[in-house]
Structure formats: C-alpha cells, structure tokens
Amino acid sequence: MAQRALSISAGLALAILTLGPIAAVLIRAGGLGSFRPGDFEALQFTVWQALLSGFFSTLLAIPVARALARRQFFGRRLLISLLGAPFILPVIVAVMGLIAVFGQNGILNSGLAAFGGPRLDIYGLHGVVLAHVFFNLPLATRMLLQAWLAIPAERFRLAASLGLTPWGQFLTLEWPLIRRIAPGAFAVIFVICLTSFAVALTLGGGPRATTVELAIYQAMRFDFDLGRAAMLALMQLGLATVAGLIALKLAPSQGFGVGRGRQVPRWDGRSTMARTFDMIWIFLAAAFLLVPLALVVLKGMPGLFAGAGQGTWTAAKHSVLVALASTALSMVWALPLANRKGELLSVAAIAISPLVIGTGLFLILRPFVNPFTMALPVTTVVNAMMALPFALRILRPEAEAVEHDFGRLRQTLRLTTWAWFTRVWLPRLRRPMGFAAGLTAALAMGDLGVIALFADPDRATLPLQVYRLMGAYQMEAAAGAALLLLILSFGLFWLFDRGGRAGADT
C-alpha cells in the first residue's frame, strides 16, 4: 500500500542520513587520526561534567518537586508551566543570562564584591555544570513532580490517619518514589549532557574544559584536521551508544504534557519549619530560572532598540528560514513515522550526536561542493532530524488513536489513502502537530551545533551571530541579538502551537 511505502521510505531516508555520515566518519578515521594526549582528557572531562550535571540536577530537583507537589500558592501553575520553557530556550540565550548573573560583572559578583567576598568565575567546569543544571533541573523536577502527583490522595489520607511522623511518611511514601524516578532522571540528563555542545563551546574551552564534541569542532575549525575530527567523532559515537543503552534501561517515560497543576490534598508538612523550607526551595528555583531570563530581556533592550546591526538581521533572516524549513521537513518526515518502529528509529538516530552527523556530512559533501556553501541546508536537515523524536513522541499517541477510533470506518467507507490522509488524519492531528511544529521550530531556531562547523561569515544563523558578537566583546549588540533570538524562538513556538489550536474543534 502507498502508505506503507511512504513509511518505509521515510525510515530509509532517516537511516541513510544517520548511517551515511557514520560510514564517512569511520572510513576517514581509519588509521589517519592521530590520538593526542589532550583527547583522553576531553573524554574524561565529558564524562565527568555529565556526571556532575546529572547528579546536581537530580539532587536539587528533589526538594523543589516535593515543595511544588505539596504547596498551594499563587503562581504555582504558571511556575510549573515555566518549567517547560528551558526546553525551547536557545542555549546561547540561557548562557547570556547566566553570565549576567554569575559572570565576571554579573549581579552576583557585584553583590559579593560589596561585602568584600570572593569573585566567581563562570568559565570552566563549574560554569558548564551550572548551565547544564539550569537546563535540566526543570526537566528532573517535572519528571519527579509527575510521579509525586501520581501518588493517590488516599495514601496521604491513610498516612495522616495513621499519624505517621514526617520522617515516617517520607520513608513510606516519598523515598520509594525518589528511588524509582531519580536514577532514570539522572540517566537521561547524563546522556543529554554528554552530547551538549553549545554550553561547552561558550562556557568551556581550554585544555581543562574541553568536551569531545568541542574537540571535534576545534579539530575541524582551527586545525582543519579531518582525520582527527573523524577519530574524535568515532569516540563520541562510542560514548553516546554506551550512554544511550544505559539510559534506555533506566529512563522512565517522560511526558511533555506534565503538570496541569493537579493538586493532591495533603495533611503533612504543616509545621512552620516545613513551610518555610518549601517556600525557600520554590523561591530559589524560580529565581534561578527567571532572573537570568529577566536579565536577558533587560540587557537586550538597548541593543535591540539601537537597531541590532546588519549582521544580526541577516542572521535572523537565515535562522527564521532554517527554522521554517526544518519544521516543514520534520513534519513531512514525522507523519509516516508516527508508529512504534518510527519512534525507536528516530531515537536511535539522535543518540548519535549532531556534530558527528555534521562531520560525516561535511566529509561526504567535500568532494562535490564547497561544504561551507551548504551550511544552511545541512543545518536544516540535521535540525529536522534532531527534532524528530520529540515530534514523534507528541504525534504518535494521537496518530494511533485516530487509527484505532476510525480505522474501521475508513474501511467500510472505502476511503482512498488520499481522502483518509487529507480529510481525516491531518485534521484530527492538527492540535498535536501545531505543538510538535512549535517545538521543532523553536529548537531549530535556537540550535547552535552543526552550523558552527559549517558556517562562514556570510551564512551565520542568529545563535552563531550571538556567539560571534560575544567573542568580539560587543556585549550590547550580543545582548540585543540574544533578546531577538529569545523573542523569535518563543514567538515561533507560540505561533505554531496557537495555529494548531485555533478552530481545531473536535
């Protein structure tokens, strides 16, 4: 059937786009690469920072999730929704915000200086871990919160009627849950941090804070040593495969639709101390998330109103085009893959780091064209591919529901594949498609990965432009561009998500 053929070719395209670059990397790396002493350190640093990031994100998420689960306060729903925001927040924007708080001239250092305290430095290991915690603390909190809110209210009622002490209740109800969820949350974050590139690019660097991905980038951009880049890519591939297998074993199912703000009635934690403790955690978490973002907005305004500069506008135009093209491609790709096999395939595809795929594509394209002229198309394809698993996680349940609810009706009406697709399938999937498209657009808009490998000054995207302005110490222009990037990312997400909802009556 036509539909099956479509699924197969979509899957095949994905497999070719993953395996092709890997093959190119393997062939190129064979014997040519020179393993330098620094490379082992990069491997060590990569694993170490990912371990620390996973550990702190999960550990800190426990008191925050606990507090959110048992407190009722003004803005609770909003705060829970905001925990989803880092997912679509461009890394470079978050880094700008974190520098504004924790950086050399950040508000924290100014505060410390006023009291004669020590100066903090954000660059290096702790900066990388800090940024990773910024992104993943909300993720871990959402995973834990979801599990916490799934504890039936009856259990808390029973605990209250038994007169359990706070410690007794913690041991019987909450500790088993933490033990069940926390390892999975840790594993997922560990894997995410292993392949995180933009954070290491902006806050790491130097011999003591270089990740494998960053080393790939440096081998290509600075030394133009393709053999070594390929060898490093191979190392990253092995790392990601092992980590991916671990995560697959430990990972809980993480949803996007988390936290509608459900409230389970609780009778515990009424003492003043427990309340104070919870409110402090909520306040700290909220401040940690919101202050950097607020500073991006505040500091960006002068730069943005000053007109941002020609380079920024061109980069913004590129980014919007890449984001829209990635979204279109990702949707066309996702629809035939919205089944179990497709989802597994897409997850396998992104377990391989975008930089490895980028390196492979670079090697494949080089004999035929100047790879630098292909920067934007390659970024588009890789971004679409990277967003696929998220799009599929959203689309698949809905697609299967349509098939389940109306598959028989389709048969008895003898609908053609075309009629089924255009009259039933697409209209029924509008809402989740809007959401998935929004996520994809925002992810593509904010991505700073493959583009860094390929780009020349004429073909920058907005995130790369922000990075370059930062590197050139044009801080006002960088802040303005970062604000523009923030607005465009969230704006695109909002537009698509809204577009899916508007008039999508059931």
């Binding site: 028989r408 389709r410 009406l413 003898r414 255009t422 009259r423 209209p427 009556d505």
Partner: protein, 233 residues
C-alpha cells in the same frame, strides 16, 4: 445469499463455530449472552476478523479473503460512526466520494435528500458534536442509505438511545433497508429489539452460531441456551 460455511474463528479463550445462510432482504437479529461472539460474527462478515477455517460468500462470490473495503457491506458501529471534525454534509459526502473529491451538483441533491428522509433536513452544515445522540444515529443511517450496499450490519448502534427513540430508529432502518432491498444483520442484547424488528433470530451461545429461526417461533419456544441467558421470566 450470505453464506457462512463451517466457520471457525479464534476468540479469547475459545473458538466460534457454525454454519449459516441468510437471504437477501431479510432482517435478522443476532441474540446471545455478552462475550458469546455476536460482534465477532459481524466482524467475520465485515472482514475485520480472519478465519481459522471456513468460508464467507455472498450470492456465489467467495468473500473469505476479501479485505473489508472490498465487501458489499455497510456498517453502523456502536459509536464513532461520524468524523467529529467534519460537518454532516462532508461526512455523508465521503460515502459518495471515497477519494475525498468535492461534491457535484448531483451529490448535494442526493445528500440533502437522504437527510430529509431521516428527518434531518437543514442540518447538513452542523458538526456531529452539536447534534443529539438520536440525530447522530440518523445522520449515520443517512450515510448507510447513500452507500446503498446489499448488506447492512448493525452492531448495537442504538443502545445509547432511550426506548422510544430506539423504536423510531429501528423503524427507520426497516424503511431504508426495504428500499435498498438489503439484508440487515443486527446484533442486540435486547429481546424487544428482535421482536420489534427482526424476521429471523440467530442465537449465538456456547461458542456456536445456531441456525436462524423465525422470530415468532423463536420466542414461542426459546432454545435452552437462550433461556439460561435471559433467566426464567
């Protein structure tokens, strides 16, 4: 004739067996305890369920291996008969234009005519969600009319309606089927439905499809398996 020969169909913990033939134009009720395989029998006719052994035929043609969309069958399901995002008109149009094309002048006339027949004149622009349960059933029935297939299967389609409305709908089905000259096979758990509507009753019980019996005769002298199921009245 609709013929089911030496059926053997896998069910959860057992297998449904039997032989049955039903003449075109008849109205047949399938009665029996829940879980006995009434709906399974409909699925076999519609082609939704593979056979372990046996044959399905219609007027000399072998349907055993035909996919559902190639069978001369239209179905009213228990629910989900209408696409909720399409207007009644568009829902009905799919019966005439299964390729999703636009309505021709003639299509529109036929659709409005069918809606009028089932008492939904002027409702073609409404979406199913804005209709009552009875109206939704009527719209689905109007579509069965437009499909004009020689076999109509009803899988307890009006079980959510009140008694008066249900009686009315059954009357409507009788008219529609009469006009089409179609064989109607209706699954029900309500003996009154059978009495009111069916000419023949087929009992499905104890993993067996029993032979059809004229309705009056069936209720005058109910088989033992049926008595066990309804209890002594």
């Amino acid at each position: 004739m609709l013929t089911l020969e030496n059926l053997n169909v896998d069910m959860d913990n057992s297998a449904l067996t039997g032989t049955l033939s039903l003449a075109p134009g008849r109205r047949v009720a399938i009665l029996g305890p829940s879980g006995a395989g009434k709906s399974t029998l409909l699925d076999v006719v519609a082609g939704f369920r593979p056979l372990r052994a046996g044959q399905v035929g219609w007027c000399g043609a072998d349907l055993t291996h035909s996919p559902p969309n190639k069978r001369p069958v239209s179905i009213l399901f228990q629910d989900g008969n209408l696409f909720p995002h399409l207007t009644v008109f568009r829902n009905l149009l799919l019966a005439l234009k299964p390729n999703g094309q636009r309505a021709s002048e003639e299509d529109s006339v036929r659709i409005e005519g069918a809606l009028k027949r089932v008492g939904l004149a002027g409702m073609s622009g409404r979406k199913p969600g804005t209709l009552s349960g009875g109206q939704q059933s009527r719209a689905a029935l109007a579509r069965v009319m437009l499909q004009a297939r020689p076999i109509i299967l009803l899988d307890e389609p009006f079980s959510a309606l009140g008694p008066a409305l249900k009686a009315e709908m059954l009357g409507l089905v009788r008219d529609v089927a009469g006009n089409l000259g179609a064989l109607v096979v209706m699954v029900t758990h309500d003996p009154d439905d059978a009495r009111r509507f069916a000419e023949d009753v087929v009992l499905v019980a104890d993993d067996k499809v029993h032979l059809p019996v004229a309705t009056a005769a069936f209720f005058a002298n109910p088989p033992e398996a049926y008595q066990e199921y309804v209890g002594t009245q």
